[in-house]
């Protein structure tokens, strides 16, 4: 007896600047066993097996590398941790909004990483190195929970209207979450310099509390809360 099949409909954003004058949506239909569910990434890989001109990024396929961030039915997310059965058909896939499209679902993340570099995402401590390691109390370490887990998939920053309008000036939720990760780190000695670099009207204060970042973060993090903490620290420092 042949296995019962179900068809899943897709509409995928296509744009190859070398060939296409403008972007268009291409329809695909995928047949999968009726009793089978899978992650969206697996479905896209099967579509690519049918049409190898489709371009997208992916790597770890388990929500750790942050490569396959895309706009899924109007909401940013990671294809590898999104169940196909949770999506309404036709499933519309578009590149992350607000960044230049290189091809199909691949965006140019330069603006995103420039903002990330700006916040100096590394521990700064010019004190002499201890013989073994820089110790933290469990309470100090706990402050980094909800901050260090960011995988830089850019789902948050590219769903933020403030980042769309000012990607060159506003650090964006991903960068600010990391900024606070180092501000809150008891081992970091550059807190004052870090805060000073964020006092202008754009870097932090362009956040209008829309909270799209919190809504879409595939790791369940809360950049808006981190931004609130940065604001409180800036006020406390009297900058």
């Amino acid at each position: 007896m042949s296995e019962a099949m179900q068809s899943v409909k897709f509409k995928i954003y296509r744009f190859n600047p070398e060939v296409d004058a403008k972007p268009y949506m291409q329809e695909y239909e995928l047949n999968i066993p009726a009793n089978q569910d899978m992650m969206l990434l697996e479905a896209i890989l099967r579509i690519k097996a049918m049409d190898d001109s489709l371009a997208f990024r992916r790597s770890c396929r388990e929500g750790v590398c942050g490569s396959d961030g895309m706009n899924i039915n109007g909401r940013n997310g990671l294809a590898c941790v999104t169940l196909l059965s949770s999506l309404k058909q036709p499933i519309e896939l578009r590149p992350l909004p607000g960044l230049p499209v290189i091809r199909d679902l691949i965006v140019d993340m330069t603006a995103f990483f420039k903002q990330y570099e700006k916040i100096k995402p590394y521990l700064i401590n010019n004190e002499p190195l201890p013989t073994k390691e820089r110790l933290q109390s469990p309470a100090e370490r706990k402050k980094l929970d909800g901050l260090y887990e960011c995988i830089l998939c850019a789902c948050c920053s590219t769903s933020c209207p403030s980042f769309w309008w000012n990607p060159d000036k506003f650090v964006g939720p991903a960068g600010l979450l990391q900024a606070y990760r180092f501000i809150a780190d008891s081992r970091d000695t550059a807190t004052a310099e870090r805060l000073e670099a964020l006092t202008d009207p754009f870097s932090v204060f362009r956040c209008r509390g829309v909270m799209n970042c919190v809504e879409v973060c595939p790791k369940g993090l809360n950049p808006t809360r981190a931004i609130g903490h940065i604001r409180s620290e800036l006020l406390a420092e009297g900058n």
């Binding site: 309008w165 000012n166 006092t199 009207p201 362009r206 604001r231 800036l234």
Partner: protein
Amino acid sequence: MVRSATSLTGNGVRDWLWQRVSAVILALYTVFILGFIWSTPQLDYVVWFQFFHHIGVKLFSILAAFSLLVHAWVGMWTILTDYVKPACVRLTLEMLVMIALFVYFVAAIVIVWSV
């Protein structure tokens, strides 16, 4: 650090604080005026005149007008820097908003002080 010549204070924390403090003043003024209207059985010219003739009401009204000036400038500056990208167009619009807000403020002082 992103430099900005046209924001209220050139400093994000201070702009943010000014906007919030002015919002609180405007909220208090709104409650104050609505409270007066609600607690006065018959509002006529004489009652309005006596109300605004009081020096405290005059000062509070001018403070509210100043708060509106500050609040609207921070808000309009944010909107213009978000949506208007060509610098010459943005600066022209910023100037027009600045002039309008300043005229409103001066007009408010003249009106309130003439009562």
